[in-house]
Symmetry: C2
Protein backbone atom coordinates (compact mmCIF):
# COMPACT_ATOMS: atom_id res chain seq x y z
CA UNK A 1 0.00 0.00 0.00
CA UNK A 2 1.25 3.53 -0.84
CA UNK A 3 0.24 6.12 1.75
CA UNK A 4 1.11 9.79 1.95
CA UNK A 5 0.29 10.96 5.46
CA UNK A 6 0.35 14.66 4.66
CA UNK A 7 -0.46 16.70 1.57
CA UNK A 8 -1.88 20.15 1.03
CA UNK A 9 -2.19 19.94 -2.75
CA UNK A 10 -4.50 22.37 -4.51
CA UNK A 11 -7.28 19.98 -5.50
CA UNK A 12 -7.77 19.42 -9.23
CA UNK A 13 -8.57 16.57 -11.58
CA UNK A 14 -4.95 16.72 -12.75
CA UNK A 15 -3.68 16.10 -9.22
CA UNK A 16 -6.16 13.26 -8.65
CA UNK A 17 -5.04 11.65 -11.92
CA UNK A 18 -1.46 11.92 -10.71
CA UNK A 19 -2.45 10.20 -7.45
CA UNK A 20 -3.75 7.30 -9.52
CA UNK A 21 -0.66 7.31 -11.74
CA UNK A 22 1.52 7.25 -8.63
CA UNK A 23 -0.48 4.29 -7.27
CA UNK A 24 -1.43 6.17 -4.11
CA UNK A 25 -3.83 4.18 -1.96
CA UNK A 26 -4.37 6.85 0.68
CA UNK A 27 -3.58 10.54 0.97
CA UNK A 28 -4.16 12.47 4.20
CA UNK A 29 -5.24 15.96 3.19
CA UNK A 30 -5.08 19.00 5.47
CA UNK A 31 -8.35 20.96 5.71
CA UNK A 32 -7.38 23.41 8.43
CA UNK A 33 -4.46 25.68 9.29
CA UNK A 34 -5.82 28.97 10.58
CA UNK A 35 -9.48 28.19 10.02
CA UNK A 36 -11.93 28.04 12.90
CA UNK A 37 -14.72 25.47 13.21
CA UNK A 38 -16.89 27.03 10.52
CA UNK A 39 -13.91 27.40 8.20
CA UNK A 40 -13.05 23.73 8.55
CA UNK A 41 -16.62 22.70 7.78
CA UNK A 42 -16.53 24.95 4.71
CA UNK A 43 -13.30 23.27 3.56
CA UNK A 44 -14.90 19.85 4.02
CA UNK A 45 -17.89 21.03 2.03
CA UNK A 46 -15.59 22.27 -0.73
CA UNK A 47 -13.79 18.92 -0.78
CA UNK A 48 -17.12 17.11 -1.11
CA UNK A 49 -17.54 18.86 -4.46
CA UNK A 50 -14.16 17.55 -5.60
CA UNK A 51 -15.00 14.07 -4.33
CA UNK A 52 -18.29 14.09 -6.23
CA UNK A 53 -16.85 15.50 -9.45
CA UNK A 54 -13.91 13.06 -9.40
CA UNK A 55 -15.55 9.97 -7.96
CA UNK A 56 -13.87 7.85 -10.65
CA UNK A 57 -10.45 8.75 -9.17
CA UNK A 58 -10.82 9.48 -5.46
CA UNK A 59 -13.06 8.45 -2.57
CA UNK A 60 -13.53 9.79 0.96
CA UNK A 61 -12.24 7.54 3.74
CA UNK A 62 -12.59 7.67 7.49
CA UNK A 63 -11.26 4.16 8.23
CA UNK A 64 -8.79 1.64 6.85
CA UNK A 65 -11.79 -0.39 5.64
CA UNK A 66 -12.85 2.63 3.58
CA UNK A 67 -9.33 2.85 2.17
CA UNK A 68 -9.37 -0.79 1.09
CA UNK A 69 -12.80 -0.44 -0.46
CA UNK A 70 -11.64 2.62 -2.40
CA UNK A 71 -8.51 0.82 -3.57
CA UNK A 72 -10.50 -2.24 -4.66
CA UNK A 73 -12.62 0.10 -6.78
CA UNK A 74 -9.47 1.66 -8.29
CA UNK A 75 -9.68 4.92 -6.33
CA UNK A 76 -7.21 6.77 -4.14
CA UNK A 77 -8.66 7.21 -0.67
CA UNK A 78 -8.72 10.73 0.76
CA UNK A 79 -8.69 11.17 4.52
CA UNK A 80 -8.97 14.57 6.21
CA UNK A 81 -7.08 16.16 9.06
CA UNK A 82 -6.22 19.44 10.72
CA UNK A 83 -2.83 21.04 11.33
CA UNK A 84 -4.30 23.22 14.07
CA UNK A 85 -6.87 22.53 16.82
CA UNK A 86 -8.29 26.05 16.44
CA UNK A 87 -11.55 24.42 15.35
CA UNK A 88 -11.87 22.89 18.83
CA UNK A 89 -12.12 26.40 20.25
CA UNK A 90 -12.29 25.69 24.01
CA UNK A 91 -14.94 23.03 23.57
CA UNK A 92 -13.93 19.43 24.24
CA UNK A 93 -17.13 18.29 22.52
CA UNK A 94 -15.78 19.52 19.20
CA UNK A 95 -13.27 16.65 19.11
CA UNK A 96 -15.89 13.96 18.60
CA UNK A 97 -18.01 16.25 16.45
CA UNK A 98 -15.06 16.81 14.11
CA UNK A 99 -14.41 13.06 13.92
CA UNK A 100 -18.06 12.61 13.00
CA UNK A 101 -17.57 15.22 10.28
CA UNK A 102 -14.65 13.22 8.90
CA UNK A 103 -11.55 14.65 10.61
CA UNK A 104 -9.21 11.79 11.52
CA UNK A 105 -5.94 13.58 12.36
CA UNK A 106 -5.27 16.75 14.33
CA UNK A 107 -2.08 18.49 15.38
CA UNK A 108 -1.67 19.82 18.90
CA UNK A 109 -0.78 23.18 17.40
CA UNK A 110 0.48 24.87 14.26
CA UNK A 111 3.81 26.66 14.91
CA UNK A 112 2.55 28.98 17.69
CA UNK A 113 0.64 28.67 20.96
CA UNK A 114 -2.70 26.92 20.73
CA UNK A 115 -5.12 26.23 23.56
CA UNK A 116 -3.50 22.77 23.78
CA UNK A 117 0.21 23.56 23.68
CA UNK A 118 3.06 25.54 22.16
CA UNK A 119 4.37 25.37 18.62
CA UNK A 120 7.91 24.98 17.39
CA UNK A 121 8.14 28.70 16.53
CA UNK A 122 6.53 30.03 19.73
CA UNK A 123 8.98 31.98 21.91
CA UNK A 124 8.06 30.11 25.12
CA UNK A 125 7.00 26.47 25.29
CA UNK A 126 5.54 25.47 28.66
CA UNK A 127 4.24 22.18 27.33
CA UNK A 128 0.81 20.63 27.19
CA UNK A 129 -1.88 22.82 28.78
CA UNK A 130 -4.63 21.67 31.14
CA UNK A 131 -7.12 21.78 28.24
CA UNK A 132 -4.51 19.98 26.12
CA UNK A 133 -4.49 17.09 28.57
CA UNK A 134 -8.26 16.86 28.29
CA UNK A 135 -8.02 16.91 24.49
CA UNK A 136 -5.36 14.19 24.39
CA UNK A 137 -7.62 11.94 26.49
CA UNK A 138 -10.62 12.73 24.29
CA UNK A 139 -8.69 12.21 21.03
CA UNK A 140 -7.51 8.90 22.49
CA UNK A 141 -11.10 7.97 23.31
CA UNK A 142 -12.67 8.75 19.96
CA UNK A 143 -9.74 7.66 17.78
CA UNK A 144 -8.58 10.95 16.33
CA UNK A 145 -4.88 10.62 15.50
CA UNK A 146 -2.75 13.01 17.54
CA UNK A 147 -0.19 14.63 15.25
CA UNK A 148 2.85 16.24 16.89
CA UNK A 149 4.14 17.94 13.74
CA UNK A 150 4.76 21.68 14.23
CA UNK A 151 4.64 21.34 18.05
CA UNK A 152 7.30 22.70 20.37
CA UNK A 153 9.70 20.13 21.78
CA UNK A 154 8.39 20.27 25.37
CA UNK A 155 4.78 20.14 24.21
CA UNK A 156 5.47 17.25 21.85
CA UNK A 157 7.30 15.28 24.53
CA UNK A 158 4.52 15.90 27.06
CA UNK A 159 1.93 14.54 24.62
CA UNK A 160 4.05 11.55 23.62
CA UNK A 161 4.35 10.66 27.29
CA UNK A 162 0.79 11.45 28.39
CA UNK A 163 -1.11 9.86 25.51
CA UNK A 164 -2.40 6.39 26.33
CA UNK A 165 -2.42 5.46 22.64
CA UNK A 166 0.32 5.69 20.00
CA UNK A 167 0.73 9.13 18.43
CA UNK A 168 2.09 10.32 15.10
CA UNK A 169 4.40 12.95 13.73
CA UNK A 170 2.96 12.96 10.22
CA UNK A 171 5.57 15.12 8.53
CA UNK A 172 9.03 15.79 9.97
CA UNK A 173 12.58 14.49 9.70
CA UNK A 174 15.26 13.96 12.35
CA UNK A 175 16.64 17.21 13.72
CA UNK A 176 20.04 15.55 13.96
CA UNK A 177 20.00 15.06 10.18
CA UNK A 178 18.83 18.59 9.33
CA UNK A 179 18.62 20.90 12.34
CA UNK A 180 15.61 23.17 11.79
CA UNK A 181 12.83 23.82 14.34
CA UNK A 182 10.32 21.77 12.34
CA UNK A 183 12.44 18.61 12.54
CA UNK A 184 12.33 16.45 15.65
CA UNK A 185 14.78 15.20 18.24
CA UNK A 186 15.96 11.63 18.54
CA UNK A 187 14.43 11.67 22.02
CA UNK A 188 11.01 12.39 20.60
CA UNK A 189 11.43 9.82 17.83
CA UNK A 190 12.44 7.27 20.46
CA UNK A 191 9.49 8.09 22.72
CA UNK A 192 6.94 8.09 19.89
CA UNK A 193 8.16 4.93 18.14
CA UNK A 194 8.80 2.93 21.31
CA UNK A 195 5.12 3.34 22.15
CA UNK A 196 4.00 2.16 18.71
CA UNK A 197 3.68 5.61 17.16
CA UNK A 198 4.71 6.72 13.67
CA UNK A 199 6.89 9.34 12.04
CA UNK A 200 6.25 10.39 8.43
CA UNK A 201 9.33 11.54 6.53
CA UNK A 202 8.80 14.96 5.05
CA UNK A 203 9.81 15.82 1.49
CA UNK A 204 9.32 19.55 1.96
CA UNK A 205 12.67 21.09 0.99
CA UNK A 206 13.06 23.11 4.21
CA UNK A 207 12.99 19.84 6.14
CA UNK A 208 15.61 18.18 3.91
CA UNK A 209 19.38 18.25 4.25
CA UNK A 210 20.65 20.35 1.30
CA UNK A 211 17.07 21.61 0.78
CA UNK A 212 15.83 21.41 -2.80
CA UNK A 213 19.19 19.91 -3.80
CA UNK A 214 18.82 16.97 -1.42
CA UNK A 215 19.41 13.76 -3.37
CA UNK A 216 17.14 10.77 -3.20
CA UNK A 217 20.14 8.74 -1.99
CA UNK A 218 20.76 11.15 0.91
CA UNK A 219 17.09 11.02 1.87
CA UNK A 220 16.98 7.23 1.57
CA UNK A 221 20.11 6.82 3.71
CA UNK A 222 18.51 8.93 6.46
CA UNK A 223 15.34 6.83 6.21
CA UNK A 224 17.28 3.56 6.38
CA UNK A 225 19.23 4.83 9.37
CA UNK A 226 15.97 5.66 11.20
CA UNK A 227 14.54 2.21 10.52
CA UNK A 228 17.75 0.59 11.75
CA UNK A 229 17.75 2.62 14.94
CA UNK A 230 14.05 2.88 15.78
CA UNK A 231 12.31 0.07 13.89
CA UNK A 232 9.47 -0.11 11.41
CA UNK A 233 7.66 2.99 12.63
CA UNK A 234 8.25 5.28 9.67
CA UNK A 235 6.29 6.28 6.64
CA UNK A 236 5.95 9.15 4.23
CA UNK A 237 4.27 12.48 5.01
CA UNK A 238 5.46 14.44 2.03
CA UNK A 239 3.97 17.84 2.94
CA UNK A 240 3.40 18.25 -0.80
CA UNK A 241 1.81 21.65 -1.49
CA UNK A 242 1.56 21.21 -5.24
CA UNK A 243 -0.07 24.01 -7.28
CA UNK A 244 -0.57 26.30 -4.30
CA UNK A 245 0.27 29.94 -5.01
CA UNK A 246 2.95 31.62 -2.87
CA UNK A 247 0.18 33.60 -1.15
CA UNK A 248 -0.64 30.32 0.60
CA UNK A 249 2.78 29.89 2.22
CA UNK A 250 2.56 33.48 3.47
CA UNK A 251 -0.90 32.76 4.89
CA UNK A 252 0.45 29.57 6.50
CA UNK A 253 3.13 31.57 8.29
CA UNK A 254 1.13 34.63 9.30
CA UNK A 255 -2.44 33.46 9.46
CA UNK A 256 -4.45 36.36 10.81
CA UNK A 257 -2.55 36.53 14.05
CA UNK A 258 0.18 39.06 13.45
CA UNK A 259 0.10 42.62 12.28
CA UNK A 260 3.44 42.69 10.54
CA UNK A 261 3.81 39.57 8.41
CA UNK A 262 7.17 37.85 8.26
CA UNK A 263 8.97 38.80 5.05
CA UNK A 264 7.26 37.41 1.98
CA UNK A 265 7.98 33.73 1.50
CA UNK A 266 7.80 31.54 -1.57
CA UNK A 267 7.25 27.81 -1.80
CA UNK A 268 10.67 26.21 -2.24
CA UNK A 269 11.35 24.13 -5.33
CA UNK A 270 10.73 20.43 -4.74
CA UNK A 271 13.72 18.09 -5.28
CA UNK A 272 13.54 16.82 -8.85
CA UNK A 273 12.84 13.28 -7.66
CA UNK A 274 9.66 14.30 -5.84
CA UNK A 275 7.53 16.94 -7.54
CA UNK A 276 4.10 15.27 -7.55
CA UNK A 277 2.29 12.04 -6.69
CA UNK A 278 3.65 10.29 -9.78
CA UNK A 279 7.05 10.15 -8.06
CA UNK A 280 5.92 7.66 -5.43
CA UNK A 281 7.15 4.53 -7.25
CA UNK A 282 10.55 6.19 -7.76
CA UNK A 283 10.70 6.96 -4.05
CA UNK A 284 10.21 3.26 -3.31
CA UNK A 285 12.97 2.43 -5.73
CA UNK A 286 15.32 4.96 -4.12
CA UNK A 287 14.66 3.53 -0.66
CA UNK A 288 15.42 0.03 -1.88
CA UNK A 289 18.93 1.16 -2.86
CA UNK A 290 19.74 2.26 0.70
CA UNK A 291 20.09 -1.21 2.11
CA UNK A 292 16.51 -1.66 3.26
CA UNK A 293 14.75 -4.97 2.71
CA UNK A 294 11.74 -5.10 0.40
CA UNK A 295 9.50 -5.45 3.44
CA UNK A 296 11.09 -2.41 5.09
CA UNK A 297 10.60 -0.36 1.93
CA UNK A 298 6.97 -1.47 1.68
CA UNK A 299 6.60 -0.52 5.33
CA UNK A 300 7.84 3.03 4.74
CA UNK A 301 5.83 3.44 1.56
CA UNK A 302 2.55 2.68 3.29
CA UNK A 303 2.30 -0.57 5.20
CA UNK A 304 3.53 0.94 8.46
CA UNK A 305 0.93 3.71 8.26
CA UNK A 306 -1.70 1.10 7.37
CA UNK A 307 -0.82 -0.96 10.46
CA UNK A 308 -0.84 2.13 12.67
CA UNK A 309 -4.12 3.49 11.31
CA UNK A 310 -5.88 0.18 11.60
CA UNK A 311 -5.91 0.61 15.37
CA UNK A 312 -5.44 4.36 15.72
CA UNK A 313 -8.66 5.26 13.90
CA UNK A 314 -10.81 2.97 16.03
CA UNK A 315 -12.46 4.34 19.16
CA UNK A 316 -10.76 3.19 22.37
CA UNK B 1 -19.63 59.32 39.81
CA UNK B 2 -20.40 55.75 40.95
CA UNK B 3 -18.84 53.09 38.73
CA UNK B 4 -18.82 49.34 39.09
CA UNK B 5 -16.14 47.99 36.78
CA UNK B 6 -17.37 44.39 36.83
CA UNK B 7 -20.77 42.78 37.20
CA UNK B 8 -22.34 39.63 35.83
CA UNK B 9 -25.84 40.24 37.15
CA UNK B 10 -28.70 38.33 35.57
CA UNK B 11 -30.38 41.18 33.67
CA UNK B 12 -33.86 42.13 34.84
CA UNK B 13 -35.92 45.28 35.35
CA UNK B 14 -35.54 44.72 39.11
CA UNK B 15 -31.74 44.83 38.83
CA UNK B 16 -31.82 47.93 36.62
CA UNK B 17 -34.10 49.65 39.14
CA UNK B 18 -31.60 48.77 41.85
CA UNK B 19 -28.81 50.30 39.76
CA UNK B 20 -30.79 53.55 39.69
CA UNK B 21 -31.57 53.29 43.41
CA UNK B 22 -27.85 52.75 44.11
CA UNK B 23 -26.99 55.83 41.99
CA UNK B 24 -24.80 53.82 39.65
CA UNK B 25 -23.53 55.93 36.77
CA UNK B 26 -21.76 53.13 34.93
CA UNK B 27 -21.70 49.35 35.19
CA UNK B 28 -19.29 47.24 33.15
CA UNK B 29 -21.13 44.03 32.27
CA UNK B 30 -19.43 40.80 31.18
CA UNK B 31 -20.81 39.33 27.95
CA UNK B 32 -18.30 36.52 27.46
CA UNK B 33 -16.69 33.79 29.55
CA UNK B 34 -16.53 30.61 27.47
CA UNK B 35 -18.40 31.96 24.46
CA UNK B 36 -16.76 32.19 21.06
CA UNK B 37 -17.24 35.10 18.65
CA UNK B 38 -20.76 34.11 17.65
CA UNK B 39 -21.72 33.53 21.27
CA UNK B 40 -20.52 37.01 22.25
CA UNK B 41 -22.52 38.60 19.45
CA UNK B 42 -25.57 36.65 20.60
CA UNK B 43 -25.09 37.95 24.14
CA UNK B 44 -24.81 41.51 22.83
CA UNK B 45 -27.98 40.96 20.85
CA UNK B 46 -29.75 39.66 23.96
CA UNK B 47 -28.59 42.71 25.91
CA UNK B 48 -29.95 44.99 23.22
CA UNK B 49 -33.40 43.66 24.05
CA UNK B 50 -32.89 44.56 27.73
CA UNK B 51 -31.59 47.99 26.75
CA UNK B 52 -34.62 48.62 24.56
CA UNK B 53 -37.17 47.33 27.08
CA UNK B 54 -35.61 49.30 29.94
CA UNK B 55 -34.50 52.45 28.16
CA UNK B 56 -35.96 54.55 30.97
CA UNK B 57 -33.38 53.04 33.38
CA UNK B 58 -30.28 52.03 31.43
CA UNK B 59 -28.41 53.11 28.29
CA UNK B 60 -25.61 51.50 26.28
CA UNK B 61 -22.25 53.29 26.48
CA UNK B 62 -19.01 52.85 24.60
CA UNK B 63 -17.31 56.05 25.81
CA UNK B 64 -17.21 58.32 28.84
CA UNK B 65 -19.22 60.86 26.84
CA UNK B 66 -21.94 58.23 26.45
CA UNK B 67 -21.84 57.64 30.20
CA UNK B 68 -22.30 61.34 30.94
CA UNK B 69 -25.15 61.62 28.44
CA UNK B 70 -26.86 58.61 30.03
CA UNK B 71 -26.41 60.06 33.52
CA UNK B 72 -27.76 63.46 32.43
CA UNK B 73 -30.87 61.65 31.20
CA UNK B 74 -31.20 59.82 34.52
CA UNK B 75 -29.95 56.43 33.23
CA UNK B 76 -27.24 54.06 34.38
CA UNK B 77 -24.75 53.51 31.58
CA UNK B 78 -23.99 49.90 30.62
CA UNK B 79 -20.63 49.12 29.04
CA UNK B 80 -19.71 45.65 27.77
CA UNK B 81 -16.60 43.57 28.13
CA UNK B 82 -15.20 40.05 27.94
CA UNK B 83 -13.52 37.94 30.60
CA UNK B 84 -11.95 35.75 27.91
CA UNK B 85 -10.41 36.52 24.52
CA UNK B 86 -11.81 33.30 23.04
CA UNK B 87 -13.87 35.47 20.72
CA UNK B 88 -10.64 36.72 19.11
CA UNK B 89 -9.96 33.15 17.97
CA UNK B 90 -6.52 33.53 16.31
CA UNK B 91 -7.61 36.58 14.33
CA UNK B 92 -6.09 39.92 15.30
CA UNK B 93 -8.77 41.65 13.24
CA UNK B 94 -11.41 40.57 15.73
CA UNK B 95 -10.06 43.03 18.31
CA UNK B 96 -11.19 46.11 16.39
CA UNK B 97 -14.32 44.34 15.17
CA UNK B 98 -15.33 43.60 18.76
CA UNK B 99 -14.70 47.22 19.77
CA UNK B 100 -16.94 48.27 16.89
CA UNK B 101 -19.58 45.87 18.23
CA UNK B 102 -19.36 47.56 21.64
CA UNK B 103 -16.79 45.53 23.59
CA UNK B 104 -14.61 47.95 25.60
CA UNK B 105 -12.77 45.64 28.05
CA UNK B 106 -11.19 42.24 27.54
CA UNK B 107 -9.21 39.97 29.82
CA UNK B 108 -6.04 38.27 28.61
CA UNK B 109 -7.52 34.98 29.72
CA UNK B 110 -10.09 33.42 32.02
CA UNK B 111 -8.43 31.11 34.59
CA UNK B 112 -6.74 28.76 32.08
CA UNK B 113 -4.51 29.04 29.02
CA UNK B 114 -5.82 31.26 26.25
CA UNK B 115 -4.13 32.01 22.94
CA UNK B 116 -2.79 35.18 24.64
CA UNK B 117 -1.49 33.87 27.95
CA UNK B 118 -2.01 31.67 30.98
CA UNK B 119 -4.66 32.00 33.67
CA UNK B 120 -4.28 31.96 37.43
CA UNK B 121 -5.50 28.34 37.65
CA UNK B 122 -3.44 26.98 34.73
CA UNK B 123 -0.77 24.49 35.84
CA UNK B 124 2.03 26.17 33.85
CA UNK B 125 2.28 29.90 33.15
CA UNK B 126 4.86 30.78 30.53
CA UNK B 127 3.63 34.33 30.20
CA UNK B 128 2.34 36.37 27.30
CA UNK B 129 2.37 34.45 24.01
CA UNK B 130 3.56 35.75 20.65
CA UNK B 131 -0.07 36.27 19.60
CA UNK B 132 -0.69 37.85 23.00
CA UNK B 133 1.94 40.47 22.26
CA UNK B 134 0.22 41.27 18.99
CA UNK B 135 -3.13 41.53 20.79
CA UNK B 136 -1.77 43.84 23.49
CA UNK B 137 -0.46 46.19 20.78
CA UNK B 138 -3.76 46.05 18.90
CA UNK B 139 -5.85 46.58 22.05
CA UNK B 140 -3.59 49.55 22.82
CA UNK B 141 -4.15 50.90 19.31
CA UNK B 142 -7.93 50.67 19.22
CA UNK B 143 -8.57 51.54 22.88
CA UNK B 144 -9.87 48.25 24.24
CA UNK B 145 -9.10 48.14 27.96
CA UNK B 146 -6.73 45.27 28.81
CA UNK B 147 -8.01 43.52 31.93
CA UNK B 148 -5.53 41.35 33.87
CA UNK B 149 -8.11 39.78 36.18
CA UNK B 150 -7.93 35.96 36.19
CA UNK B 151 -4.48 35.98 34.52
CA UNK B 152 -1.51 34.03 35.83
CA UNK B 153 1.09 36.08 37.64
CA UNK B 154 3.79 35.81 34.95
CA UNK B 155 1.31 36.55 32.18
CA UNK B 156 -0.14 39.53 34.06
CA UNK B 157 3.30 40.95 34.77
CA UNK B 158 4.38 40.51 31.14
CA UNK B 159 1.33 42.44 29.95
CA UNK B 160 1.69 45.18 32.56
CA UNK B 161 5.27 45.67 31.40
CA UNK B 162 4.72 45.31 27.65
CA UNK B 163 1.58 47.41 27.26
CA UNK B 164 2.30 50.93 26.08
CA UNK B 165 -0.92 52.19 27.67
CA UNK B 166 -2.24 51.82 31.24
CA UNK B 167 -3.97 48.52 31.93
CA UNK B 168 -6.60 47.46 34.45
CA UNK B 169 -7.31 44.67 36.87
CA UNK B 170 -11.05 45.20 37.02
CA UNK B 171 -11.83 42.84 39.90
CA UNK B 172 -9.25 41.56 42.37
CA UNK B 173 -7.86 42.36 45.81
CA UNK B 174 -4.31 42.26 47.17
CA UNK B 175 -2.97 38.73 47.54
CA UNK B 176 -1.15 39.86 50.69
CA UNK B 177 -4.52 40.70 52.27
CA UNK B 178 -6.26 37.47 51.23
CA UNK B 179 -3.96 34.93 49.57
CA UNK B 180 -6.00 33.18 46.87
CA UNK B 181 -4.88 32.71 43.23
CA UNK B 182 -7.43 35.27 42.00
CA UNK B 183 -5.95 38.05 44.11
CA UNK B 184 -2.87 39.92 42.92
CA UNK B 185 0.64 40.56 44.18
CA UNK B 186 1.88 43.89 45.44
CA UNK B 187 4.44 43.74 42.60
CA UNK B 188 1.65 43.64 40.05
CA UNK B 189 -0.32 46.38 41.81
CA UNK B 190 2.83 48.52 41.86
CA UNK B 191 3.57 47.91 38.17
CA UNK B 192 -0.02 48.52 37.06
CA UNK B 193 -0.66 51.63 39.16
CA UNK B 194 2.76 53.23 38.60
CA UNK B 195 1.97 53.26 34.88
CA UNK B 196 -1.43 54.90 35.39
CA UNK B 197 -3.45 51.72 35.46
CA UNK B 198 -6.32 50.77 37.74
CA UNK B 199 -7.31 48.03 40.15
CA UNK B 200 -10.96 47.44 40.98
CA UNK B 201 -11.61 46.03 44.46
CA UNK B 202 -13.65 42.86 44.28
CA UNK B 203 -16.60 42.21 46.58
CA UNK B 204 -16.88 38.54 45.62
CA UNK B 205 -16.64 36.63 48.92
CA UNK B 206 -13.85 34.29 47.73
CA UNK B 207 -11.68 37.35 47.17
CA UNK B 208 -12.41 38.82 50.62
CA UNK B 209 -10.58 38.20 53.86
CA UNK B 210 -13.04 36.22 56.04
CA UNK B 211 -15.14 35.53 52.93
CA UNK B 212 -18.85 36.22 53.32
CA UNK B 213 -18.17 37.34 56.90
CA UNK B 214 -15.75 40.07 55.85
CA UNK B 215 -16.82 43.30 57.49
CA UNK B 216 -17.14 46.58 55.63
CA UNK B 217 -14.58 48.03 58.04
CA UNK B 218 -12.05 45.29 57.17
CA UNK B 219 -12.63 45.86 53.47
CA UNK B 220 -12.40 49.64 53.84
CA UNK B 221 -9.16 49.40 55.81
CA UNK B 222 -7.63 47.29 53.03
CA UNK B 223 -8.81 49.84 50.46
CA UNK B 224 -7.43 52.75 52.43
CA UNK B 225 -4.11 50.98 52.84
CA UNK B 226 -3.88 50.45 49.06
CA UNK B 227 -4.58 54.12 48.35
CA UNK B 228 -1.96 55.15 50.89
CA UNK B 229 0.66 52.86 49.39
CA UNK B 230 -0.11 53.05 45.66
CA UNK B 231 -2.10 56.24 45.12
CA UNK B 232 -5.49 57.04 43.61
CA UNK B 233 -5.56 54.13 41.18
CA UNK B 234 -8.31 52.06 42.75
CA UNK B 235 -11.99 51.65 42.15
CA UNK B 236 -14.72 49.07 42.57
CA UNK B 237 -15.16 45.97 40.42
CA UNK B 238 -17.66 44.12 42.57
CA UNK B 239 -17.92 40.90 40.53
CA UNK B 240 -21.59 40.92 41.54
CA UNK B 241 -23.33 37.86 40.07
CA UNK B 242 -26.76 38.67 41.45
CA UNK B 243 -29.66 36.34 40.57
CA UNK B 244 -27.49 33.86 38.67
CA UNK B 245 -28.32 30.23 39.39
CA UNK B 246 -25.55 27.99 40.76
CA UNK B 247 -25.39 26.29 37.36
CA UNK B 248 -23.66 29.47 36.19
CA UNK B 249 -20.76 29.26 38.63
CA UNK B 250 -20.24 25.64 37.59
CA UNK B 251 -20.24 26.71 33.94
CA UNK B 252 -17.79 29.51 34.78
CA UNK B 253 -15.37 26.99 36.27
CA UNK B 254 -15.71 24.17 33.76
CA UNK B 255 -16.84 25.81 30.57
CA UNK B 256 -16.82 23.14 27.90
CA UNK B 257 -13.16 22.39 28.28
CA UNK B 258 -12.99 19.55 30.75
CA UNK B 259 -14.58 16.17 30.84
CA UNK B 260 -14.80 15.79 34.60
CA UNK B 261 -16.12 19.01 36.11
CA UNK B 262 -14.66 20.23 39.36
CA UNK B 263 -16.98 19.34 42.24
CA UNK B 264 -20.24 21.23 42.10
CA UNK B 265 -19.86 24.80 43.28
CA UNK B 266 -22.39 27.27 44.61
CA UNK B 267 -22.29 31.05 44.54
CA UNK B 268 -21.09 32.18 47.96
CA UNK B 269 -23.32 34.42 50.06
CA UNK B 270 -22.51 38.10 49.62
CA UNK B 271 -21.47 40.03 52.73
CA UNK B 272 -24.58 41.65 54.16
CA UNK B 273 -23.28 45.13 53.38
CA UNK B 274 -23.07 44.40 49.66
CA UNK B 275 -25.84 42.27 48.19
CA UNK B 276 -26.97 44.40 45.25
CA UNK B 277 -26.48 47.74 43.56
CA UNK B 278 -28.48 49.58 46.23
CA UNK B 279 -25.53 49.07 48.59
CA UNK B 280 -23.24 51.44 46.70
CA UNK B 281 -23.95 54.52 48.86
CA UNK B 282 -23.30 52.44 51.98
CA UNK B 283 -19.99 51.33 50.52
CA UNK B 284 -18.99 54.98 50.11
CA UNK B 285 -19.95 55.62 53.69
CA UNK B 286 -17.89 52.65 54.88
CA UNK B 287 -14.82 53.83 52.99
CA UNK B 288 -15.14 57.28 54.52
CA UNK B 289 -14.77 55.75 57.99
CA UNK B 290 -11.38 54.22 57.14
CA UNK B 291 -9.46 57.47 57.19
CA UNK B 292 -9.80 58.33 53.52
CA UNK B 293 -10.55 61.90 52.45
CA UNK B 294 -13.81 62.65 50.70
CA UNK B 295 -11.92 63.04 47.46
CA UNK B 296 -10.23 59.66 47.91
CA UNK B 297 -13.58 58.00 48.60
CA UNK B 298 -15.09 59.64 45.53
CA UNK B 299 -12.09 58.39 43.59
CA UNK B 300 -12.63 54.78 44.63
CA UNK B 301 -16.38 54.96 44.11
CA UNK B 302 -16.02 56.02 40.48
CA UNK B 303 -13.93 59.08 39.77
CA UNK B 304 -10.71 57.11 39.37
CA UNK B 305 -12.33 54.77 36.85
CA UNK B 306 -13.80 57.81 35.08
CA UNK B 307 -10.37 59.44 34.77
CA UNK B 308 -8.81 56.19 33.56
CA UNK B 309 -11.57 55.42 31.04
CA UNK B 310 -11.53 58.93 29.63
CA UNK B 311 -8.20 58.16 27.99
CA UNK B 312 -8.23 54.34 27.93
CA UNK B 313 -11.30 54.08 25.70
CA UNK B 314 -9.91 56.46 23.09
CA UNK B 315 -7.94 55.04 20.16
CA UNK B 316 -4.19 55.65 20.47
Amino acid sequence: MFIDALQYVAPSRKVFEQMRAGQLDLVHITVGYHEDFHGVLQNLSDWNKHLEANSDLIARATSVQDVRAANKAGRTAIMFGLQNPLAFSADLGRVELLVQAGIRFCQITYNQQSLLGAGCFETQDSGLTDFGRECVAEMNRVGMVIDLSHAGSQTAMDVAQVSNRPVAVTHANPHAWHPVPRNISDDLIQTVTSKGGMVGFSLYPHHLKDGSACSLATFATMAADCVTRFGNHFGIGSDLCQDQPDSVVNWMRNGHWRKTPVPAAVFPQQPDWFTDNRDFPGLASGLSHAGLTGQQVDGIMGNNWERFLESALEPA
